[in-house]
């Protein structure tokens, strides 16, 4: 992201909601936490529908998960965790108040005063402060027939109502949209490592951002439903505000929504008035007294966290910290890496293969995105086929010089399609490299024949040479040894420039 022209400081803060998708039941009742794909209003009970006379029943594991996440984010854990009612009225909110936490009168939320270090910021590092981390219940969902503008009424589905959410609120410590992206990636990795939330599930992680420049009013951007869009929305909003400021137009403190189709922020439909949520302590939930030893017991149960894992990868497997970080940022890659080293002991080679080739492949062919919605061709289905043994074999074959990297990538595609082991594929497709000079000769000559102009350009232009090399690789179905082919092309060019004029 390029720096904006004006030097007024940009401040960005985030409010992130993560569903605790690893829970089996909702936060305050025994309905299933897995509401996705169910018929409307079939995953409900008197408690989560707010039927008269029902009482909330706090899920112990939800509290444990929230404490673990708070510890992972270096928060202080409150000695007495209490719940509050946030009073506001909305048809998808069955009680017309939300049970949440609130810190104005005491340290009530699960965690406060935490931090997360971004240590991969082009060499430098930066600490983002976490203001608080709290547990709360998700509302139900509204749907409309046709569009919201033409529908005469809303349709409510309460299946999601009461699902456990952790809300994380940061201080406005971000200066750039790219930092926001790094933070969210890091957070997603922590959630995955803790095994409490699967960020790839639709709607499992939602984000609001607040953005201000210089002394201007703060703008809230809501409705951002994927991690990728957070960076976009923030970038758009900065540009919008700078443009207003540069023209001397007042920036209004307001709530805006992210329109992901048009990729812009729009003013919220209704002017959201200054809300007074009339918080007060929830009388139906006994407070949770947290002792030091409870916290330590939970800490001891926590799986290895990303930072520790990166360090271990560097130490145990001699990876560069960059490579280690890229692996750990996506837990499934790191898991694949570690499992693959059991089949082949060249860890660095496996790591490099995963970080460059596999990851590149995923991003290109699988339209891979943490928040991708579909499962067809997504990383999930690929990982069902590509096992640690596949990865180990591919790295081994490349290292032994049996196949080159380009061929290996093709084999990967074949693995995804067939699930066959790379060694078997290699035998089947006779993938041994075209390493003899005379076997390559005819292909090189054919390319020079066809690409006369590029060949002439190559006399003075390196790029043209690369273009020719690409053609040679294509005609050889990737089986050519690129080094050998390049040296042959260079020879031909040199001959031409000596003799030809």
């Amino acid at each position: 992201m390029t720096k904006m022209s004006s030097d007024a400081r940009v401040r960005i803060g985030l409010e992130i909601h993560c569903q605790l998708t690893a829970l089996r039941s909702k936060l305050f009742c025994r309905c299933s936490a897995d509401y996705r794909g169910k018929e409307p209003n079939t995953n409900v009970c008197p408690v989560c529908l707010g039927m008269p006379g029902t009482l909330p029943l706090l899920n112990r594991r939800a509290v444990e998960y929230a404490i673990m996440l708070a510890l992972a984010l270096n928060c202080k854990i409150s000695k007495r965790i209490t719940f509050y009612r946030k009073n506001y009225f909305y048809p998808d909110l069955p009680k017309n108040f939300q049970i949440t936490q609130y810190n104005a009168y005491e340290h009530a939320s699960v965690g406060v005063d935490g931090s997360l270090v971004l240590d991969d910021l082009n060499g430098s590092s930066k600490t983002i402060r976490i203001r608080r981390l709290q547990l709360e219940e998700d509302p139900g969902r509204l749907a409309y027939e046709g569009s919201i503008d033409t529908a005469n009424y809303a349709l409510v589905d309460y299946n999601r109502a009461g699902v456990a959410l952790v809300e994380i609120v940061t201080e406005p410590d971000f200066d750039e949209p790219s930092e926001v992206r790094l933070f969210l990636n890091r957070l997603a990795s922590i959630l995955e490592h803790l095994g409490i939330c699967n960020p790839a599930l639709e709607g499992a992680v939602r984000c609001d951002a607040n953005i201000s420049i210089g002394e201007h009013a703060r703008v809230e951007v809501k409705n951002i439903n994927s991690f990728k869009d957070v960076e976009r929305a923030v970038a758009f909003e900065i540009t919008r505000q700078r443009s207003l400021a540069s023209r001397g137009i007042e920036i209004r403190g307001e709530t805006r929504h992210w329109d992901d189709a048009r990729r812009i922020t729009v003013q919220a439909r209704m002017k959201e008035e200054e809300e007074d949520y009339r918080y007060f302590p929830e009388p139906d939930i006994p407070s949770i007294v947290v002792k030091e030893e409870d916290v330590e017991a939970l800490r001891a149960r926590m799986p290895e966290l990303p930072y520790a894992r990166v360090e271990r990868f560097v130490k145990v497997y001699s990876l560069s910290s960059d490579t280690a970080r890229i692996l750990v940022n996506e837990k499934h890659l790191a898991d694949l890496f570690e499992a693959s080293t059991k089949y082949y002991d060249n860890a660095r080679s496996i790591a490099n293969w995963i970080v460059t080739d596999l990851k590149g492949y995923l991003e290109r062919y699988a339209s891979y995105d943490r928040n991708s919605k579909g499962d067809d061709g997504s990383s999930n289905s690929i990982f069902a086929k590509v096992t640690p043994r596949h990865i180990a074999e591919l790295a081994m074959l490349v290292d032994s010089g049996k196949i080159n990297r380009v061929t290996a990538r093709q084999i990967l595609q074949n693995v995804v399609a067939s699930g066959m082991l790379p060694s078997a594929i290699v035998q089947g497709m006779d993938a041994d490299m075209l390493s003899k000079k005379d076997e390559l000769e005819s292909i090189v000559n054919r390319v020079i024949e066809e690409e006369r102009k590029a060949f002439m350009d190559a006399l003075s232009n390196e790029k043209a040479l690369n273009y020719l090399l690409g053609k040679v690789m294509r005609y050889s179905n990737g089986r050519a040894d690129p080094k050998l082919a390049l040296s042959m092309l260079k020879e031909k060019v040199a001959d031409k420039s000596k003799g030809g004029k």
Partner: protein, 92 residues
Amino acid sequence: MVGIEEVRHLAYLARISIKDEELRLYAEQMDEILAYFNMLDELNVSDDVEPYRMCRAYNEMRDDVPVAFSDNVLSNAKNTKGRFIKAPKMSS
């Protein structure tokens, strides 16, 4: 002092429709009641007095075990469309 305008505003905040002709009576009554509550103001309690906690129990929690509720909990909903419940729109 609670006047007619305050009652109107409170009725709006609480989303309760009140007839105009009732506002004056509500204002008088609520003013009197709040004046009575004001005695709490004179109560001199130090900051270390812990406000009352409603419930002597603590650390009561439930295991994370799902149980489906079988009865038709929507039997009291009158405005429905298929399995959905109909509600007013949010726009104004």
